[in-house]
Symmetry: C2
Subunit: 395 residues, 2 copies
């Protein structure tokens, strides 16, 4: 009889994977995924970039390349982080990963042994939680409010918890809540982290999708002790199907990630790295991001208006300044996993919130995505959701 490793006891086929299958049903209005809008992809430009790469350096694009990634692409990402996030880093402090999901997986493998503690926002990104589970950690959830992680709670937890090996946070337009930390909280966070000297994984897939107000500096830009590992990705601003993300960390930490990369898959695709790099040579990524931001902002507005108009007052939800998601809280007696089945009958889907709490026990939330639907579908879907919620309320 085949025996499996103990770490598998903690893992199930992830909710994300199952949900991607649901999304494939064309009759469903899906607020479930976190997919960018496919009609906005720069398909023609990426095609031209691909042609240029194959004509100019085809045999290089087809060959193996270094684990760290394409030097020119790493330099561009370093330059971009300087402008967008106020992060000062060299190309050598960047590792190209197969999406930022791979950075999440490596983070746990670099820092966490069985039984070690990972601190996460409550709630946090379920794809990260699932990746981390393979290292058999204990999760401690840090309370959040409308401004993000609550710093007083963080300080108390760090003061009283042994073996905390890393803190995982998404300070900008968090997945699932859409919330963003204020500058004051960011400074306070780094003050606390510096006191305890715990590595921080700062996951920032949505930072450039800001619809209003000012950009916040990345935690990494406030990091004076080399504690912050920053994860970036091209998935939400350029193209997810190329699987291009990156890790930025100080030299010592990045070397550990590079070692992981060699064992995990040798390197990220040479072709997709060169094609994305060439796209940035030939075209204006900022202009593209500006365009998709306008569309997502509009869809956010449509969704917020519809939820305000149709949702019963018992349903509370966040008002994100950017990103792809809003987060709905229902009365504690409603189980959103059960309600999801009623919603599927009405042909509308969301992600039940329970999986975003690693220690479970909170089933009255759900996540809603607004990035890849037409106005009409958003309104129709919100109306259907509202009706199902209404029917679940105690009179």
């Amino acid at each position: 009889m085949v025996r499996y490793a103990k770490r598998l006891d903690r893992l199930n086929s992830s909710d994300i994977g199952d949900l991607l299958k649901l999304i494939a049903r064309p009759d469903i209005i899906s607020f479930a995924g976190g997919l960018p809008a496919p009609e906005l992809f720069p398909v023609e430009e990426l095609k031209q970039a691909g042609i240029a790469v194959m004509e100019e350096m085809g045999s290089v694009a087809c060959q193996y390349s270094s684990a760290e990634g394409l030097p020119q692409l790493r330099q561009k990402l370093a330059d971009r982080m300087a402008v967008k996030n106020n992060i000062k880093a060299t190309a050598d402090q960047i590792l190209i990963t197969s999406g930022s999901q791979q950075g999440l997986d490596f983070a746990a493998r670099v820092f966490v042994d069985e039984g070690d503690v990972i601190l996460v926002e409550s709630p946090s990104y379920l794809g990260a939680i699932n990746a981390y589970k393979a290292c058999e950690p204990t999760f401690v959830e840090v309370p959040t409010d409308d401004g993000g992680m609550v710093m007083e709670d963080l300080d108390k937890i760090l003061a009283s918890t042994e073996n905390v090996k890393m803190i995982y946070v998404i300070p900008d337009f968090q997945n699932p809540t859409g919330r963003t930390w204020s500058l004051e909280r960011r400074k306070k966070f780094m003050e606390i982290v510096n006191k305890y000297e715990i590595p921080v994984i700062e996951d920032n897939p949505y930072g450039e999708l800001r619809f209003e107000n000012e950009n916040m500096p990345a935690l990494k830009s406030l990091d004076t002790k080399g504690l912050v590992v920053y994860l970036g990705t091209l998935s939400k601003i350029m193209v997810p199907g190329f699987r291009l993300g990156w890790v930025c960390a100080n030299d010592e930490i990045l070397e550990k990630f590079n070692t992981m990369k060699q064992g995990a898959d040798l390197q990220t695709s040479t072709l997709t790295q060169m094609q994305a790099n060439k796209y940035m040579d030939l075209y204006d990524l900022d202009a593209h991001v500006h365009k998709i931001r306008e569309v997502y902002k509009h869809r956010r507005d449509v969704m917020m208006s519809a939820m305000e108009e149709y949702f019963p007052k018992e349903a509370k939800f966040t008002h994100p300044d950017g990103g792809l998601f809003t987060w709905v809280e229902l009365p504690a007696y409603i189980n959103t996993k059960e309600m999801a089945l009623q919603c599927l009958e009405k042909k509308v889907a969301y992600v039940p919130g329970g999986s975003f709490f690693p220690n479970g026990g909170k089933e009255n939330y759900f996540r809603v995505n607004y990035s890849c639907m037409t106005d009409e579908k958003i309104i129709e879907g919100v109306k259907a959701l509202a009706a199902v919620i209404q029917s679940n309320l105690k009179k």
Copy 2:
């Protein structure tokens, strides 16, 4: 102070990564890598396939897709395994990975807890050994001879060793030795494995690069109990820079690999999967493989002749029927790591053999690659190697 996970104590930046850097020096005649010959890549055809994908289904190629991989590509690989390896499998029994290196990494994570035993051929592929080390196993090396793994030793080791969780083998044109198992050994192997019911990782990157004699059936084709996990790759027959490999296993085992994939990087690049799939729709992969096989056969012949002519009789080496490597054994008093530095002075490189023995202690071997050099360079390099070996022999 930042603390790292215990698993990192076992890992160093891999020899392969360091070697890929050496190869980059244009003045070196490198027999070190395992790189396919870049002048043989079907660059124009892959370019056309990329154009077709972007024009016909560009927004699909740019979007997220399923963890398991593109259904059409998985079907083609299932069909190909049936013809080339006598393996009967459905598309659903295949997971697309980011190169077969990712399959190696997942294998250990699926089957191996800290302290569990992995059996490997002695010597075995160092990229697998390094990937496995992240799961903190104990390696037991099974002796090999010119015909591959010695079955009597395998049986004895399995009878007397606790907690063997998997057996890793490369039966065709092994890396590093170039050796191939006979049909008789394959049958005996499956008989023994069936007795103990231990999962087998059959790694077959080079099987289609056979220069003479008959194809051997894959172990997977002889597997009656669903114990064999087969790893294939397009790296050596089509294009390594796309990072496309696959895992083929029975339903229960494959489900565990699929779960690992979701956590590790969600999915392999949609674009490179669709581009490789389109290449196979538009062009004749078999004809391409035939072409590269002829070139590699010629280079193998050139290298064998040169080694027979110039190497001192104290240097013994294998005569591979296919694949990319030959394996050289020197007298036990010669340390090939130290000799590698002398060779670099003469501008020729190989991989010292020590790292291919996970438990160490054998430093008088080295691996030689013949796939990506001109005839002249092969002869010049072998002459230089021969001179250095000669100078290290005791008079």
